[in-house]
Subunit: 386 residues, 2 copies
């Protein structure tokens, strides 16, 4: 029997440079908070899925499924991890969604984690580059800032997008993050500081880029019928869709559009029977601020080329028509790669439950998250409803 799937618990570790904690510490922390929040006990959990990209390179540890089960006192429970570059967290949510829908699992712990700060800066850059097309991009020195710089420059050329607009995304997301207790940067940053921050790959500046972050996020998900036993405020997954694109940027028909996002968003809206204007709150993958601008276009909040205007006009503010990244997004909440897609869903669940405190979007009933891998080689879209 095909079943509806609900989120009944959410948890996060603090995001940041967590020198004093290990990968297993933060993963356990997020998982325990999610379990506490849900009211289930360990013995109710019949499966664990973890989103992670590169624990093997960052920390020397793979086999994270057994690790998480063991650390959580749940040795015995089936557990594995999934990888889809920066969309690994979204992939984990989608795997749990399918596993529960299939009837093979009833109540699962979903985790996302990455510990990025225990290696040198150079090794961190090389490790993140495993998500590029290594043979055609990464090996030749094309890091993600460089690839997103191509996209930004072309977007500026073709649509007149400005450096100020890219900077305004930073200003908005930092403003939002001051109200997010788990965010890496809980402070506003003025426009002029963003505009004057160091240039990494012209036109992308350091404050247009998401940081290197340690962090983990967790969800308890179960079948909708089971959810009522544990909570009065289950959040339902109305649709879960995924698409891929060419791995390398240079193979795309248009580097200012992420076709995988367009496709997976269309499918997700169709599956849920909603239109984009029915959605109240958005978490969009802003690994670079040009990414948020492109995504607002590709999911249909505005026409292609007008994403810059959207942020300029305040439409994507928490009190705007289409609030984007009330959490602070990847830019200010931080971007522990495997955790990001799960953290997006945590934020949406809190928003739909009305538990997002000072960053609450008034009366939010439907939320949409886009989690991207690489430069858009993977896109995973979830629509949630209460």
């Amino acid at each position: 029997m095909e079943r509806d799937v609900a989120i009944i618990g959410v948890g996060m570790s603090k995001f940041g440079e967590l020198w004093e904690k290990s990968l297993r510490d933060i993963t356990l922390e997020a998982g325990m908070y999610a379990i506490f929040d849900s009211g289930v006990s360990g013995k109710d959990i019949d499966g664990i899925v973890i989103g992670n990209m590169s624990a093997g390179r960052f920390t020397g540890q793979e086999h994270l499924g057994a690790m998480a089960a063991d650390m959580g006192g749940l040795a015995g429970v089936p557990a594995y991890s999934v990888e889809a570059a920066c969309a690994s967290g979204g992939a984990a949510v989608r795997q749990a969604y399918m596993a529960i829908k299939s009837g093979e699992h009833d109540l699962m712990l979903v985790l996302g984690c990455e510990k990025m700060s225990d290696v040198t800066q150079g090794e961190a850059i090389n490790t993140v580059s495993v998500a590029t097309d290594w043979e055609w991009e990464g090996m030749f020195g094309a890091t993600f800032p460089a690839l997103y710089a191509f996209m930004a420059r072309r977007h500026m050329h073709q649509y007149g997008t400005t450096e100020e607009q890219m900077s305004l995304v930073t200003v908005k997301n930092h403003k939002n993050a001051q109200w997010n207790p788990w965010a890496q940067f809980q402070r506003p940053v003025p426009l002029e500081i963003v505009m004057k921050s160091g240039l990494i790959a012209d036109p992308i500046r350091v404050l247009h880029s998401s940081p290197v972050t340690d962090g983990a996020a967790g969800l308890v998900m179960c079948s909708a019928d089971l959810a009522k036993k544990f909570t009065d405020t289950p959040i339902y997954i109305l649709s879960s869709e995924q698409a891929s694109d060419t791995l390398s940027l240079h193979d795309r028909r248009d580097i200012t559009t992420m076709d995988a996002v367009v496709r997976s968003t269309k499918s997700a809206l169709k599956e849920s029977g909603l239109e984009i204007k029915d959605i109240d709150v958005f978490e969009l993958h802003d690994s670079f601020t040009i990414g948020e601008i492109i995504l607002t276009e590709d999911i249909g909040l505005t026409e292609k080329g007008k994403g810059g205007k959207l942020v300029e006009e305040g439409v994507t503010e928490i009190d705007g028509k289409y609030p984007v990244n009330p959490s602070g997004g990847l830019k200010a909440r931080g971007h522990p790669i495997g955790a990001t897609g799960v953290a997006q869903i945590v934020e949406l669940a809190l928003q739909l439950r009305g538990d997002a405190e000072k960053r609450q979007v008034d009366g939010a009933e439907k939320g949409l998250a886009v989690n991207i891998g690489g430069t858009g080689g993977t896109s995973i879209v979830h629509i949630l409803g209460r």
Copy 2:
């Protein structure tokens, strides 16, 4: 609607030290063969899942989902990879099984791959150690040969298992592999050579150990109703079960038993309504030959402690009562980590179709595969039937 799931196509790359090929070459090769074998065309495929452990460390490339979709001319198709150490391949099969059962996917390409020979011997050993408990085992130099040596020594002490019995597993699996065109070592090896081969971690010798291997394996899986459109000989997945155990060996109640195997096998038999004696052919995870001996006990082919006798008495030969590893197993087919679990299912499908040529188990109708992660921290069991 919960649906039955079938395998309609299988494919393999040659296993071995493939210096002249890249990870994407061999992955593409296995996938293409599986697609050709199935008779589907690219446009029928609506999802890709890849089992892989450490491509990030071995080759610099993660984001393998998008890579495989792109290389296969299938950019657009949702794709991701799953990791459960040496059970990553089995995990990929299980993910596809759930994805199809959930109704989210109808026809999927399942791949397993690892390219292990492009790094130094030392880096290969370190990379494989990501599947140990890194903080409590690997970091202190406890490699897999060392950990399995503990298990072997204890098994010998407790049950009188002999070095000769461990060596006879090698002899059997090498004998079988001479008839497997994809195997890394297609030649028999006499008992005295095994017994005299170099000692790695007493009592484990080099010829008790699976090799470092490059290789990929592929399956086309779909819903049972769809299968009939493409083939007259679909092979059905009768059950798919998984369990975990403590990540580190020293935390187990008994290091001569893999509890995760016991549990997942029991569940799989129950789910399929079969008893172990109903199974005609077995693929068991023999990363070290003591592993095959332990698994024959843990799945119930004999009592605990009598696995050594089983191989001695010829019970696990191709023409024995319980043929184990007609493919040559990990020992002789080779063990490209993420590919192994998929290759096991390829072999069982060929056996049940009657296509296993000189290594065919006469009239095989039911097959069982056990894919292990680490020292048994993960176990994934599939039962197949025609």
